[in-house]
Amino acid sequence: MTEWLLLGAAGFVLAGLGTLYRVVAGPTVQDRVVAVNAVGTITVVVLALVAAGLDAPGVLDVALVYALLNFVLSIGLAKFLVERGGVL
Amino acid sequence: MIDPALLVAVPLAGSALPAVASRLRPRTGWPLALGVLLVQSVLAVWVAAAALAGDPVRTQVAGIPAPFGIGLLVDALSAPFVVLIALAALAVLAYTRRGGPRSGAFYSLYLLLIGGLTGVCVTTDVFNLYVFLEISGLASYGMVAQADRGAAALAALKYLLVGTVGASLYLFGVGYAYVATGTLDMAALRAALPAASDPLALAALGLMVLGLSVKVALFPLHTWKPDAYEAAPPGVAALLAALASTVAAYALGRLLLAVFPGVAEAVVDAALLGLAAASIVAGSLLAYRSESVARLLAYSSLAQFGIVVVGFVVATPTAIAGSVVHLIGHAVMKAGSFLVVGLLARTHDVRTVAEYAGLARRSPYVSAGFAVLALGLIGIPPTVGFAGKFYIALGAIEAGSWTAAALVLASTLFGLVYLGRVLERMYVGEGDTHAGPTGAASPGMYAAVAVAVLATLALGGVGPLVEGWLAPVLDGLDAGLAMGVVP
């Protein structure tokens, strides 16, 4: 069971790396923003899987904080985009 | 007995008051700061008197024993600085009532600075030293930026960048010391360092000395100083000139004497002597070339701190006493000079050496005060400036270090040249002698200057006294006790 959880986490890390490509390459700012958000979400999932896999509930707190930061980031970026007409 | 932690805690906690109070009622910042500083001064004098009369006053915060807990110590080496900080803060506060920025935030920063500087003086933990260094640093960056001009913000930012790099280099050194020994307590470090592997201990020493040299502003690392002192409001410049670099130099001396003896002494001594020599020569040269009097005084600090470092490098009891006397004397004289510069800028609208021409006739009393302070900075007897240099030179000759003695002598000659230039302008130069005063100054401003002038003269005979105080501490250091006292 533990192995599967950690394997899943590894898979998500790979997916996150794929998404990072969009952050770097993304032709428009919107692409990058959505990609950054996706990376954040993936990180939360990875942290949760690691917490379950290593039986370390402390990591769940980290995942929660990260999710919160990700939420703040999305709203902040969204507002920034609207206000500045896409200039980042 | 009073807990030395209060010396730090009172101003730090008190710094919360002016910011809040001045928002509720304007003009409450100054009296609150005065009250807090009075309490702190009484505590400081009390603790210092106890430390100088008998045993050093020490405590472990929260009662956790060394080397795990954080130790605080007021001994004969730190007591003079604790008192200096408290009293200088009071004197400059008298000046800022009319002269300085008067916002509540300013007085909060003021108290924060005093708390941080006192912390640097009393802590026996190298990491805590970093924290207090940064607390006082942050406060001083904010205070420099209090001036109205935009140039002040840029000067403050430069001060911040350079100062933070210095503090971070020091922190890096602390990291090496920790890796080498596994402890951060000064006493434990001293015991463990010589046994630690050489490159680690040497890296720790090198980085910590380098970081503190930035804060002291020795020659190639000084670039923040003239800009910051010139752009800051006069009261702030005086306070920083009196305390900021002085306390960093104290920390450097404490580290060299109490933590690092036995680690590559020859190399470090040579490097520090080189830095000091560069500071003395280049500082004097830059001072000679400055047009603005504030800049001239800032550059002169480079040379003066070079001399102090010479004393710490020579490290005979006489030379160390000389360094302590010179640090305190320089603080008093330089603060007084900056206050005079601020006062004259206010009353006669003069700032450059050229504008000072003929000032002695327009403003005889203030000019006389400035002359006394300048003669003290040069090192003419019977001022405290002479006492410090004399003891350092004496120590250097005792130790047979002719280079060091020659450096001290040279610095006096250089001082005569660059400060003599200002005095010559003031007393002999032909200026617009009929122009009346352009502004008024408060009694507090004159009082602060008078206190500095009187202290410059009165402290002239303090040398033997300091030597007597320091003797037991230095004996203890020689005997290998890191804090210089039998626990």
Binding site: V65, L68, F71, V72 | L6, A13, V20
Partner: protein
Amino acid sequence: MKPYHESPVVTHTVRVVAPFILTFGLFTLLHGTKSVGGGFQGGVIVASVAVLFAFAFGVSQTEATLPGVRIVAFAALGLLSFAAVAGAALVVGRPFLDTTAFGVSPVYPVEVIEVAIGVTVASVVTGLFFELARADDA
């Protein structure tokens, strides 16, 4: 520059999420003595609520509900309560900051200190955000 219209999605989400974030901040803050967390972390989480509200409803409106003087007062309150707990040990004749001085488990004084730190950190971070955001508007 296009004027910013409050999006009902954003404002509503922020409204719903805020209490949970505050609770989580408190949880983190109080858990500092035995697990991940503490005053700094909890304080920053609490401050993020103010940031969220500013994003959702606009900086000026949020600042009107939470004026600067109150923020500074909270910061001072935290600092002074820390000093009070630390100094109280002196009254009992123990060293400064000695948390074992009060005849109760040291966890309780430490929790009070954590809350004090949390209050200070939250208000300072909020204040900084408003200060920088306001300068941006000007």
